[in-house]
Each structure stands twice: as C-alpha cells, then as structure tokens.
Symmetry: C2
Subunit: 251 residues, 2 copies
DNA sequence: ACAATCAACTTGTCTATACATCTTAAAATA
DNA sequence: TATTTTAAGATGTATAGACAAGTTGATTGT
C-alpha cells in the first residue's frame, strides 16, 4: 500500500471488445485488463473515483459500483480516506484455487522442478472428445508432466488440450512454464469444474511418485473453459502424505 | 418461478442483532433470515423493490443494492419484468459447496439416514480452543454423526461447536436436521475454509464406515465463521470408493 | 519546536429522479 | 372471436447531489 502514479485514463476503454455492455461493466473490464496486463501493478494505487468521473464524464455512483464489485471479487482493496489499490495476487482465492503447483511450491519457499514425460499431438478418442466437448478425431495434445518439490515428486499432471484453442501447445518449453501457465496466457480461463477423489495409485504411478502402493492419493480432475469452449482437461495425482488441498470461501 | 404471496414487511427488521450496520446490509440480513428460516421458500416471489420502498421508507437504490448483492451471492434470482425469487437451493454453488450431506444424498434420489454416536457438552481442550479461536475451557459441544446413503455409510461427521454461539446445539433432534442445518439457522455462515486430504482410516473408522483398512478416504476439515466468530469446526471422513467431491467456479 | 487545528481528498452510504427493457394482463380493435 | 395495442408493474442502469467518516499534510497558534 504505497506508490502513487500518474495514470492515463484516456485509453481506459481501449482494446475492449465493443460488446453492448453497461458502463459499469465496461469499467470493470477495463480496470481488470489494466491489472491482468500488468500495467497497474500489485499494491499500486489506482485513480480515485472522482478522477475517473472527471476523465470519463460518468457519474460517481457508476464508478463506485465498478470498483465496489471488483473489490468484492478480490481484484482491488479499498481504504477509506486513502484510495483504491490493486489487491495482492490472490492472497486468498475465492475458492479452491486455480491450481498452479509451481506457484504453490514457490510460495512455501521450496524448489520446484518438473519433468516432461509425454508430449504428443494426436486425435481425440471418443472419451477424450466427450471430455473436451469436441468431435472424435478432433486434434488434441496430450502431455504428462511430473512435478517435484525439493526433488520429491508431488504431482503427476496428465493433460489433454484442445489443439484448436492452443495450437502451439507442443512447442512450449515446459521447464520454464507449467502447461497451465501457458494455457492461461493464450486462453484465459473463465470457468472450471473439479472432481476430487481419494484413490490408490497404480504401479506406474507408485514408481513415478516414489510411494508405496498402499499410500492413498488425492486425485483432482479438472476442466477449464474459455468462454463456451473447453480448453483443457487435466488429471492431477498427489501423494496423500505430501499434499493437502486448501480452500477458502466467503469474505 | 411461480407463487406470489402476501408478505408482512413490517416485521422485516425483527429478530436482527442491532449492530450498527448500513441500511442495505440490514436489509440483506433480514432477507437472508427470511430465507434460511424457511418463511420465504424456494422459488417463491419476494416483495418487489417498490413494495419495500413503500413499507420501509428507504430509497429504491438501497433496496436494489441489497437485492443485487444477494443475487450475486446466490440467494436470490431476479427476472426483469417478473420479480425477485428465492433461489433454488444451491443447485451448484460458486465453489466447493457448503456441504450438506443430507441434501446431496437426496439430490441423487437416494435415502439419507443418520445415527448420532456422540453428543456431549464439555470444555475446550487447548487444541480445540485454538481451532475455534476461544480460550481453553470455553464451553463447547462435541458431536459425532454417522451418515448413510441407502443404508451404506457415506460420512463420519465429527464436530465441535462454540457453545456461546449455538447454546441449544445439544437439544436438537439430529434425526430431523443435520447439525449443519441447525447451525446455519442460528448463525448464518459468512466465511469458511477447508482442508482436503487423502488418508487411510483407523480401525474405528473402518468399522463405522464398513470398509477395509486399505481403502483410501477423503478427509475434509472445515471451519465456518459467522462474522468474526468461528461457529464450528468439523472433520468429515468419506470412503474413497463411495464419494467424490465436486466443485465448480466461474460464472 | 511542538501541538492542535483545519482543509482537502478519499471512500462509504443514501436519496430522488429518470429512462430503458422486459413481462403480463387488460383494453381496444378488427 | 381473435388479434393488436396499451398500460402497469417489475428489474436494470445512470445521474446529480448530499453527508458521513477516515487519512494526510499544511497551517496556525502557543
């Protein structure tokens, strides 16, 4: 909470899809874009309500609604008398966090490393097609990545990706970025679902995770949408002894 | 979406803690209470904005804010030109659902039944006090309930409750209502956290759940707040073979 | 130099009004 | 009778103005 900068508000509505949205919604979009693009950075102060009013000629109540809703959604933090600031990066998420294992490991102050076990371009089986909501034989990518925390296996990530929506998936360097990070950059996730189960690992999984066959694992199946399209479906397998899933909801 | 009834709005603000809240917040509380108490039932139409304006003498924008926020939170559904209705009981929640096993089982069209194994009034141990955010020896209730789906055990629910916030917890008939249902009615949950793990059950748990010692279980630890107070902490244990946790986020 | 006061700016809330849009039912018309 | 038009009522949004309350820095007074 510091840092006051000068903002150019004339371009606030640039680069926005010209959908017929109400003003407050466009304002939300625009501000959200400033944040996600990095132009307005964490803890930075953003323009006050009256500044936006003067710059855009809208009513203060309209600006107030946009800022209030973005605050409720966790993008902003407001302090009476002080101003409005870009919120800490998901200090606590609204829900079971969109799961980036690399970030999590880093947040614990541990070393993250990953091994790419499989990366192939292929065609969707009937089951895979069902999962991704495409036709059989639609082009997909399939990948398997093993993630380590301090050189101990922490997650097997099996993933299929809609090739139409992420055509360069197989050209990425997954030592630098996790598959999830790349997908978020090309097709920002707007919706998702997950299914969590406790299961016993099979022989291959035991070996990959370096665990006993009797050790329970947390299996998370997740699908993520961008608009109406399913971008990717993943199956994440975690050793029960090394992993907890934490969630938080409400205010 | 049907059913229009006559509402007595004079008593809207009854039974409300007289905390110094803004009007829109009091309105939200009051409406939320009408819903959770069952006085306003699912799919029932609630008073229109202008009716509330006339009855309470507040501005329509204030009523609008209350209703809009309750809609965003999933309590209400609004249809332009038609009215405002009590939302379907969390058909899908914004996140890992606040978990009412009885509802879930019923939603699957199965029979739910529960057995009360333990119900005692006692004082908080140091660990329990930490969990609930109270002092050691603070009055608490401790309960263990076994839930069945079609007469097959589906969940062990171990729970401790802050006795100050739910003083009649031990006088409830848990054959009729789950502990969670009662707690929601006396202290509506505003916030929560959960921790999900895959573990192996101990001997007692194996027997209660009628499973093998080798069967992995999904353990969910959950704490729920009402305002700044922790109302209850629960540990829910599910057989992995009979249970999946489903979550959904985004719009 | 120090303390108290004040002014300016911020967010938070509330009101009153206006118009748009959607839905339904009554009324007018063919 | 059947169709169209109209009116009423509901939510959705936008505006202008007002006051409350928290914060900061400048000003004033001692």
């Amino acid at each position: 909470m510091s840092d006051v900068t000068i903002h150019n508000l004339a371009n606030l509505f640039d680069d926005l899809p010209d959908a017929p949205l109400p003003i407050y919604a466009k304002l939300k979009q625009a501000i959200s874009l400033k944040i996600s693009s990095g132009e307005w950075q964490t803890n930075q102060r953003i323009p006050s309500e009256s500044e936006v009013v003067k710059a855009l000629g809208v009513s203060r109540m309209t600006v107030n609604r946009a800022l209030r809703e973005l605050t409720a959604e966790g993008f902003l933090v407001r302090h009476q008398g002080l101003g409005t600031f870009v919120a800490e990066k998901k200090a606590h998420s609204a829900l079971f966090e969109v799961h980036n294992i690399a970030e999590e490991v880093a947040a614990r102050g541990h070393k993250h490393r990953s091994e790419l076990l499989v990366l192939e371009s292929t065609k969707a089986s009937m089951e895979e097609a069902m999962t991704l909501g495409v036709r059989t034989n639609h082009g997909i990518f399939r990948s398997v990545v093993l993630h380590f925390e301090n050189d101990l296996p922490i997650q097997i990530e099996e993933r299929i990706v809609n090739a139409t929506l992420a055509p360069d998936y197989d050209k990425q360097d997954f030592a630098k970025h996790t598959p999830y990070e790349y997908l978020m950059s090309v097709a920002p996730m707007t919706e998702g679902e997950h299914l969590v189960e406790a299961i016993l690992p099979n022989a291959v999984e035991c070996e990959r995770l370096q665990i006993q066959a009797s050790e329970p694992c947390l299996q998370i199946k997740r699908r993520t949408w961008a608009g109406d399209d399913i971008v990717t479906a993943a199956r994440l397998l975690h050793p029960g002894s090394r992993f907890q899933l934490f969630g938080h909801f409400g205010r």
